[in-house]
């Protein structure tokens, strides 16, 4: 009994104080951490491949006029899997090391949108020939007009804040 307790005490005491100083000192992730996915607008060609593979279906693509395509990313429900960065043909998406994403002003802070200039083909006014990743967006579940926010169609009454 006593021998066991002694062993346990030694085991517990040996490492000494291990507590990290975070948040007063930074403790950044090592390796290829998958944090906030940043989109480089200059590289994005608006192909929509990221929207097609996103498991959380948080990327909405709208063509707002002849030359402009808008990508709205509702990163509030992003699971940081990094598939968008994997499939991007232009490497426009990078998984950064940013992980301090807490906010006190609502989930709007996690919305990222970008407008991409789409040069159209002079002859046919289309950008690509089918089938392109864009056509895949038209598959059920990936249609841009269907993207919803979590809780949007909840049948329950929320609790009101006093």
């Amino acid at each position: 009994m006593i021998a066991s307790k002694l062993k346990e005490a030694i085991l517990s005491l040996r490492p000494g104080r291990v507590t990290l100083k975070y948040p007063f000192e930074p403790h950044d992730p090592e390796g290829d951490f998958r944090g906030y996915p940043e989109l480089d607008t200059d590289k994005c060609i608006g192909c929509g491949g990221c929207a097609a593979v996103c498991p959380a279906r948080l990327i909405m693509i709208q063509d707002i006029d002849q030359n402009t395509r808008r990508l709205v990313r509702l990163l509030e429900r992003c699971i940081f899997c990094g598939r968008c960065a994997d499939v991007c043909p232009e490497d426009a998406i990078t998984m950064t090391k940013r992980f301090e994403l807490s906010t006190d002003s609502g989930r709007e802070d996690m919305v990222a949108e970008c407008e991409v200039f789409m040069a159209t083909c002079q002859r046919c006014t289309r950008c690509y020939e089918p089938p392109t990743p864009l056509d895949r967006i038209m598959e059920p579940g990936f249609r841009d007009d269907e993207i919803k926010r979590g809780g949007q169609d909840s049948p329950y009454e929320p609790v009101k804040s006093e």
Partner: protein, 165 residues
């Protein structure tokens, strides 16, 4: 203003009731991890309590399932005022990958007024500590919404309408 009020109301230690409303356990484990030696949230007076009646803060993990909605409302009522609600993890923040499943109602703010959001899948313990630090006024939030354009001088366009926002 509300934020200042919160910080004034909770000058010292926050007692936390942790409730899982359908989470996969990833976030729950990170919440416990925050209390273990390497992160030791008790430095900030954070203490997990076993009853919502003793709590100042409700930590919500997971997407809200249909079955927990009545329970969650009662739980919220049971926490004495003033109270804070913190949503931890992508599921509690926005419904996660389950947001449109038949059995999921949505993120925590579908049912409760949420004060702080900590996204991540699961958030690192450091991210949770950062969230607590933001709540305690020790740190500032480091994120805001992003609006980028390839052609900055394009004439004014219609603002984006995200349904349900």
């Amino acid at each position: 203003m509300f934020k200042e009020l919160c910080q004034k109301s909770f000058p010292k230690s926050l007692w936390v009731y942790h409730c899982n409303v359908g989470a996969c356990n990833g976030c729950d484990i990170e919440v416990i991890d925050v209390l273990t030696p390497y992160y030791d949230a008790e430095r900030f007076g954070i203490k997990l309590v076993a009853s919502p009646r003793h709590a100042d803060v409700l930590l919500v993990c997971g997407p809200v399932t249909r079955q927990v909605v009545p329970a969650l409302k009662r739980l919220y009522d049971a926490v004495p005022d003033p109270k804070l609600v913190i949503a931890i993890g992508s599921c509690a923040v926005g419904g996660g990958i389950w947001f449109d499943s038949y059995n999921i109602v949505g993120g925590a703010d579908t049912i409760l007024p949420v004060d702080y959001y900590i996204p991540g899948c699961p958030p690192r313990p450091e991210a949770i500590l950062h969230g607590i630090a933001v709540a305690l006024g020790l740190a500032e939030k480091e994120i805001e919404s992003v609006h980028l354009k390839q052609l900055p001088d394009r004439p004014e366009s219609v603002p984006v309408e995200v349904e349900g926002s």
